[in-house]
């Protein structure tokens, strides 16, 4: 059954822009991305929108729908009230390129700053063995599709542009956690660099990253808080402080 939908789409670029109202047909079962494509095909031929898989697995169609960071391909039009106007804007944490497309290169720069996995030198290729219970925590983080919705919603950079140079963001905290929890990774100073170089201490655990993650990764509970606790292990733990282990760790 086809009905009419009131849609407001942000159109513009880095110089100017604003919300434009359109009325578009919508069919039963369609998602917001389908409707945007129909607008592009019938009313706004030059509308810029980034998309790819239409299955919630590529992370390309990240945008803000009624103010919430979401994947357009995974947002059912039926989840809104009939007659409700749906407002679609680009991600508001990143520089705008055109219409619904933003420049997310910040995230790729941050990715390059995270040191890679360091394999044990005594193990030749093919000799590494790990048990499932040792890797399952890290496997949760491998579900990340790099849609950067967590980065977009994180107020540390969304509301404070000046923090971008010193804050990696939740997507990269799960990367650091994944490596720090990896049974074979030999790089020793991930905890300290997470705190001192990647801005882990700036996170105030308000859990918005977890709320918007389309893969339902428990970013805060399973990655950020465990990493904060690991930092406490080496910097603020009472038992270690009293036993002098803290100083030894620093020397290492």
């Amino acid at each position: 059954m086809t009905r009419k939908l009131n849609l407001r789409i942000w159109r513009g670029d880095s110089t100017d822009g604003g919300l434009k109202d359109v009325v578009v047909d919508v069919n039963e079962g369609e998602v917001v991305l389908d409707v945007i494509h129909r607008v592009q095909a019938t009313q706004m031929g030059d509308l810029a929108v980034r998309w790819n898989c239409k299955a919630g697995k590529c992370g390309s169609c990240s945008m803000e729908i009624n103010g919430k960071p979401r994947l357009a391909c995974m947002t059912q039009v039926a989840s809104f009230d009939e007659g409700e106007t749906i407002t679609v804007t680009p991600l508001r944490a990143f520089p705008i390129i055109k219409d619904l497309v933003t420049d997310v290169s910040f995230n790729y720069k941050k990715a390059m700053e995270i040191p890679a996995y360091e394999h044990p030198t005594e193990l030749a290729p093919g000799e590494a063995r790990m048990e499932q219970i040792d890797v399952e925590r890290s496997q949760e983080f491998r579900k990340c599709i790099e849609c950067f919705l967590c980065q977009d919603t994180c107020h540390v950079i969304r509301d404070h542009e000046e923090n971008k140079p010193v804050f990696a963001g939740p997507r990269f905290f799960i990367r650091i956690a994944e490596l720090d929890m990896h049974p074979l990774d030999r790089l020793k100073n991930r905890k300290r660099t997470a705190q001192e170089e990647h801005g882990l201490g700036m996170c105030n655990i308000t859990k918005c990253c977890t709320e918007v993650c389309p893969e339902h990764i428990k970013i805060t509970d399973n990655a950020i808080i465990p990493m904060k606790e690991r930092v406490v292990d080496i910097k603020y733990d009472p038992a270690r402080m009293f036993s002098g282990l803290l100083r030894r760790e620093k020397r290492d």
């Binding site: 919430k68 540390v156 509301d159 049974p183 201490g201 709320e211 509970d221 808080i225």
Partner: protein
């Protein structure tokens, strides 16, 4: 202009375009926590009506001051003078820092009050009002890293409060008598048992507990017992928010109950 109004970002004048009731949750959190703070402050300074044999308010336990009323101290131990630096100090104020510190630095409460009180942010994708943000990297918020210290102290307090709940299984040998005997069960017993049990659940579901029992390990397979503990605490941890609220409510109600019984407004009903 910073944040969502930065010159490079899409030019949208609204702080948020959310159409749902995003303000409701922080508003409720603010109301409940603020009410608790007002009540707890009043009770901490009141310095009276916190003990009626065999019940003691969790706000005043362990009662360590020489100002504590007779029978309320732990094994008669009162190491703190009734006056500190010339000021008469309520016994609650001596110990308050430990449960208060534990809750203030709790990972769940941090989310709750950063959103509700400091609006940092008030809700997801709602622009915060602050122009500068350094998070928990400098004083005073760097002290949030002391959560582990308060966690250990909180466990000790749970032992004291559990002991208080056990003492509440006493009752008068006959109606109106001041002589107590074991084997009784009153509404007060129920209240203190519920309060101390919920405090254990709150402490054991804590993120620091989860980390301490096994979360810090890289090789679970080499530590099967700690892995089992970690999975158990991880299950509890998913309910940490609920335990935080229920235990807070239970402690507040336990204090209200003891106060009401102590002042004679309510009678502690004995089931047997």
């Amino acid at each position: 202009m910073s944040g969502v109004f930065s010159p490079t970002r899409a030019k949208i004048k609204e702080r948020t375009l959310r159409t749902d009731k995003w303000w409701l949750e922080p508003a409720i959190t603010f109301g409940v926590l603020f009410s608790f703070v007002i009540y707890a402050t009043f009770r901490a300074f009141e310095g009276a009506n916190y003990f009626t044999e065999p019940l003691i308010s969790p706000f005043y336990s362990p009662c360590l001051s020489q100002a504590c009323v007779e029978g309320s101290t732990l094994f008669g131990w009162a190491p703190v003078s009734a006056k500190v630096l010339g000021f008469a100090l309520s016994p609650a104020l001596i110990i308050l820092i430990f449960p208060l510190g534990f809750r203030m630095t709790c990972y769940y409460y941090r989310k709750a009050y950063y959103r509700a009180f400091w609006l940092s942010p008030p809700a997801c994708a709602v622009a915060e009002p602050h122009t500068k943000y350094t998070g928990e990297t400098r004083a005073p918020l760097i002290l949030q890293n002391a959560h582990r210290w308060f966690f250990y102290a909180g466990l000790v307090f749970n032992v004291f409060l559990t002991y208080d709940a056990i003492l509440a299984f006493q009752g008068p040998i006959e109606k109106g008598s001041k002589i107590m005997e074991w084997g009784h069960f009153s509404v007060g017993t129920l209240v203190l048992v519920a309060s101390s049990s919920l405090l254990w659940f709150y402490s054991l579901s804590c993120h620091t507990c989860r980390h301490t029992v096994g979360g810090r390990l890289k090789h679970f397979s080499k530590h099967p017992f700690r892995y089992k503990l970690w999975t158990t605490v991880s299950t509890l941890n998913t309910k940490h928010q609920q335990f935080a609220w229920f235990s807070l409510a239970a402690v507040a109600f336990a204090d209200i109950y003891v106060r009401q019984v102590s002042t004679g407004a309510w009678t502690n009903f004995y089931f047997f």
